[in-house]
């Protein structure tokens, strides 16, 4: 056991002064090239560099994760969350900045990227996204200005996640668990047989 854990810890009366929470970021991961980015979770981080770093460390080690994006929670604008499906509305236009559109298929589900729209402001972006992406299986829409979405880059992928990490997945154990069960149960069957055999014959 480490020295720290062996020694009796003593503390002063007071806790250190409180610190404010840092910025909240939402993280989405992509499982294979070309597939949408799906909601993975959150990190708290003070700036963009650490947000990406934390996101990679926490969510980027998912099996077959080939990339991730993150944005600040407060940079996302969500439509209402419909009870079932969000109705498409009439809105069109291609002026303004690019906005990344994410859709939520049902309450309690996970947001995933659906495409982009262009719009001069958030409300218009949401309206145009609702015009293009609402319909069946969309209960809510989220837009984030694309310039506020951070993404991992290609070069990082080369050194990231290219060795076998099946030890951190349930299925990495299935085969050996099954064979160990078989061996243990076979041993028991043999032992029962041996005991009966002894009892019957001697």
């Amino acid at each position: 056991m480490s020295k720290i854990r062996e020694q009796a810890l003593t503390f002063g009366e007071e806790l250190p002064p409180p610190t404010p929470d840092t910025m909240h970021w939402v993280v989405y991961t992509c499982k294979k090239p070309g597939a949408p980015f799906k909601w993975a979770g959150y990190v708290d981080a003070p700036d963009e560099a650490l947000a990406l770093q934390y996101a990679r460390e926490h969510y980027g080690l998912d099996e077959a994760c080939v990339g991730l994006i993150t944005h600040r929670h407060e940079d996302a604008i969500d439509s209402e969350y419909a009870l079932k499906n969000l109705e498409p509305i009439d809105a069109s236009g291609t002026d303004g900045d690019e906005w990344t559109v994410l859709t939520l298929n049902r309450r309690g589900g996970n947001h995933q990227t659906a495409g982009v729209v262009h719009a001069p402001n958030a409300n218009t972006a949401l309206a145009r996204a609702q015009a293009s992406f609402a319909g069946s299986k969309v209960c809510s829409i989220r837009v984030v200005k694309s310039s506020q979405v951070l993404e991992t880059n290609e070069e990082e992928l080369l050194i990231w996640r290219h060795h076998d990490m099946s030890y951190k997945l349930a299925r990495g154990y299935s085969k050996q668990v099954r064979s160990k069960w078989t061996r243990i149960r076979d041993e028991q069957t043999y032992e029962d047989y041996r005991q009966e055999d002894i009892a019957d014959h001697f």
Binding site: D47, Y173, I184
Partner: protein, 340 residues
């Protein structure tokens, strides 16, 4: 791991809301509609859900403490890698659940402070010792197994942000459980000494696992807010029964003996005798078993368990040692311009 099945301090719940609004909210829940950001919720709902998510988050990070201590001593590189990944997962679960709690109105710093000062609790099962490697195997098999059972039901809850977090967490819990099962199988396929060590660890953890699901349900639990509002889905006793039905036959197949034990102040077993209540009703598949010692359970919850002080001290040490990092980060957050 999980904390949510444990009894969250039953503080008084007063529901003081417009009856029509409340009725509409409860109808939605009864209809299976999930609560999402922007939806109205009763103040009591917010408080209860916060308390539950915060307790769960606390449990994730305190649960990682005894396991973290074993990383350097884990036998072999593969077990070291797997245990490191598991501890990282658990702390990650804590981070995600603190985030869910923040959205319900409490700052992360307040939650970390309340944890180290004992104002809030974490799951009781982490107040017991892990003196051998076989204890680590038992925690991953029995306690993570119990946690999956509980958290699968919580993923059917009514609060959207908690539900999506639970679904994500459960994927990783499956790895914890499977690697735990592999560890137990390896030990029980091993030498006499390894089997004896595993039996001793099983004696320490079987009753802790039974108590994991919390005390007996109060009569009418289904009508109380936690279940009526679908924060809690299944009764403690029903979860416990399902656990025994699943794990008792597996333990027996492994060659383990299910004992009734007495323990000393350090949480170590002083006597063990085979559980005479143990048996299965072939017609129903239900196992009978001896109850855990509920007096001991309450004593440990009230802070007098073998490891309560040790766990909190380590958490506090970490909070105090990390203070300068949080200060530096908070400073950074002020001077960093918002994302372009």
């Amino acid at each position: 791991m999980s904390g949510a099945a444990n009894p969250v301090a039953p503080a008084e719940i007063t529901i003081d809301e417009d009856p029509d609004r409340l009725a509409e909210f409860e109808q939605r829940i009864a209809d299976g509609v999930l609560i999402e950001p922007g939806d109205w919720m009763p103040e009591a709902y917010r408080l209860l859900q916060l308390r539950m998510a915060e307790h769960h988050a606390n449990s994730e990070i305190v649960g990682a403490l005894p396991e973290g201590e074993w990383i350097t001593r884990a036998p072999g590189m593969l077990r070291k890698l797997a245990l490191t990944a598991k501890v990282q997962d658990e702390v990650g679960h804590g981070q995600m659940l603190y985030r869910v709690s923040q959205e319900l109105g409490k700052s992360r710093d307040d939650m970390l402070r309340d944890l180290v000062t004992g104002k809030t609790k974490y799951h009781n099962c982490f107040n017991y010792p892990c003196p051998t490697w076989a204890d680590i195997a038992m925690v991953q098999w029995l306690i993570d197994g119990a946690a999956i059972m509980n958290q699968k039901t919580l993923a059917d809850g009514a609060y959207g942000p908690y539900v999506r977090t639970m679904n994500r967490i459960n994927m990783e819990e499956a790895f914890h459980f499977k690697s735990g099962e592999d560890m137990v199988l390896t030990l029980m396929s091993g030498t006499k000494a390894q089997k004896a060590m595993t039996q001793e660890a099983f004696d320490r953890w079987w009753t802790i696992a039974l108590a994991f699901f919390g005390p007996h349900d109060k009569p009418g639990a289904e009508d109380m807010p936690a279940m009526r509002w679908r924060m809690k889905i299944e009764r403690n006793d029903s979860l416990r029964q399902r656990f025994v039905n699943r794990f008792a036959p597996a333990a027996i197949d492994l060659g383990l003996v299910i004992n009734v034990v007495t323990k000393n102040e350090q949480g170590l077993v002083t006597s063990a005798t085979p559980d005479e209540q143990l048996g299965v009703d072939e017609s129903t598949g239900q196992w009978s078993f001896t109850e855990p010692d509920w007096d001991e359970f309450w004593k440990v919850i009230r802070g007098h368990g073998p490891c309560n002080a040790q766990r909190l001290a380590l958490r506090r040490f970490s909070y105090e040692q990390g203070a300068w990092v949080r200060r530096a980060i908070a400073h950074g957050a002020v001077v960093t311009p918002p994302a372009a």
